[in-house]
Amino acid sequence: MSFDAPTPPPTLLEPSPAPCTSGQALTSTGRPITLRSVGKTYALDDGQSTVRAIDNVSMDIAAGEFIAIIGPSGSGKSTLVRMIAGLEEISEGDITIAGDSPRALIAQQRLGMAMQDHGLMAWLSVRQNIALPFRLSGKVPDEARIDRLLQLIGLADFADVRPTQLSGGMKQRVSLARALVLEPDVLILDEPFGALDAVTRRQMNQELQKIWADKPTTTLLVTHSLEEAVLLADRVCVMSPRPGTIASVHSVPLPRPRTLATTFDETFRQLVASIAKEFDAICGLGDAL
């Protein structure tokens, strides 16, 4: 089997034609995202020095596409997705989501986000945490949708339990359900499984695939795991060290649904090895290999 060779550092990344599927075609939802020459410079506390975090990132993401972003620590992966989510101001360039600004998407409550520290409210039950976006946006909670998500994440029996009584994996599942409860057009996952052990992480990867397959929305996943990126994404973007730019993009030609068995597939292993080699070169570890 063959796979796409690593592309040279691009200035403009075209969206993949469609998520790679087998069998029944997935109905893509979500909105396309366009980044044009996006940069981010932070001012340091002394008021004079600055740090260039992101430099000249351009990218086109198709509606319903699943993008994984990997890169060394400090390469600006989280900053990039936070800018797309409208949580960070951009210093230059432009980000549009189906022609609108990220703030417009937030105003319409069409964005979902799950982070590494899950951000669950300790005083609310699992059900109430999942329902929180409804309450925050002034809507009546859709109990049927919450029930369905509870079933989907396998926590129907824990609906009335507080987050403090849940394991790390369970908390992340709740965080994921909360991110999905308003059926967002754009889903941002900022290292949601970073703090989990390997076994739980693999389980969560399967959960995420199941949830995403249920309604394939435009998804950006920040991760440090190459295997996770290749297993879940339609395309994997590799970021360079600071200032972060998109160093290369790899299409993942693996059919969906992908299971744990996929990770033993020769194509999967070759693609991971190829990206790993390039990743090490980007991080200056090439000579050590």
Partner: protein, 248 residues
């Protein structure tokens, strides 16, 4: 140290305190103004003394409760306002600091001539509580972590809704700490307010007993004030424990 050993240590320490207090009173180690505990309790058991102390304690408790409720409400409301309308925050903080920096002993006479001697004890109690609740609430409201703030931003919640749904519940452990500190401050504030000429209360008894050198009455009033403070503190600590248990 397990629970039994801790209790045993507490009993030993408390017994030693009682023993030396009694000895100091009986032997006049600290002069005639230091009564023995037995003499003090004998005085408190006297029906006329007991009635006076109970009535005065009830009045002080009433003033302290009114002051506690008002001071807490004002402190909490102003802190929430400062959190929602951030422009107000610095001004409110300066105002609260100014109120706290002014000694109650200086405010007492001013309150007597402005709001009257009937209301002064509750007012001084309220002022004593206000600052601790204001600062605790403000600190709790600012305590929202980045992930929680992100959740609020992502779902485009307004400031009021964010306050009600996330910031206030998140702040409650700190608010409860502020309220707990406020209980003892309220009793102290009420007694100081009564000191300046209220018709009834422990403060009035304290002044009268001091001026007339009624040593047992003076000590008994002080003891009642301490018991009142302690009881209110432990009551709120018990409420806090139950509340936090439900909250987290």
């Amino acid at each position: 140290m397990n629970r039994t050993s801790r209790f045993a240590s507490w009993c030993i320490g408390f017994s030693l305190l009682i023993f030396f207090w009694e000895l100091a009173g009986r032997e006049n180690w600290l002069g005639s103004a230091w009564p023995s505990l037995s003499a003090l309790f004998a005085f408190m058991q006297d029906p006329s003394s007991a009635a006076l102390l109970l009535r005065s304690s009830a009045d002080t408790a009433s003033n302290a409760t009114i002051g506690f409720l008002l001071g807490s409400l004002v402190g909490f409301t102003l802190a929430c306002s400062g959190s929602v309308w951030t422009g107000l925050g610095p001004g409110l903080a300066t105002f609260a600091t100014f109120v706290n920096a002014t000694p109650l002993i200086a405010l007492g006479p001013l309150l007597i001539v402005t709001v009257g001697e009937e209301v002064t004890p509750a007012a001084t109690a309220g002022l004593a509580v206000f600052f601790s609740v204001f600062i605790a609430t403000l600190s709790g409201l600012q305590d929202t972590n980045r992930d929680q703030s992100d959740v609020l931003s992502i779902y485009g919640s307004g400031k009021i809704r964010a306050l009600i749904c996330v910031r206030i519940p998140n702040a409650m452990p700190k608010v409860m700490d502020g309220l707990k500190l406020g209980t003892t401050a309220a009793v102290l504030g009420a007694i100081i307010g009564e000191w300046f000429g209220a018709p009834t209360g422990l403060g009035v008894i304290l002044v009268s007993a001091m001026q007339n050198f009624q040593i047992e009455l003076l000590w008994a009033s002080a003891l009642c004030g301490t018991v009142l403070s302690g009881l209110s503190f432990f009551l709120l600590a018990a409420i806090q424990t139950q509340f936090i248990k439900r909250l987290v």
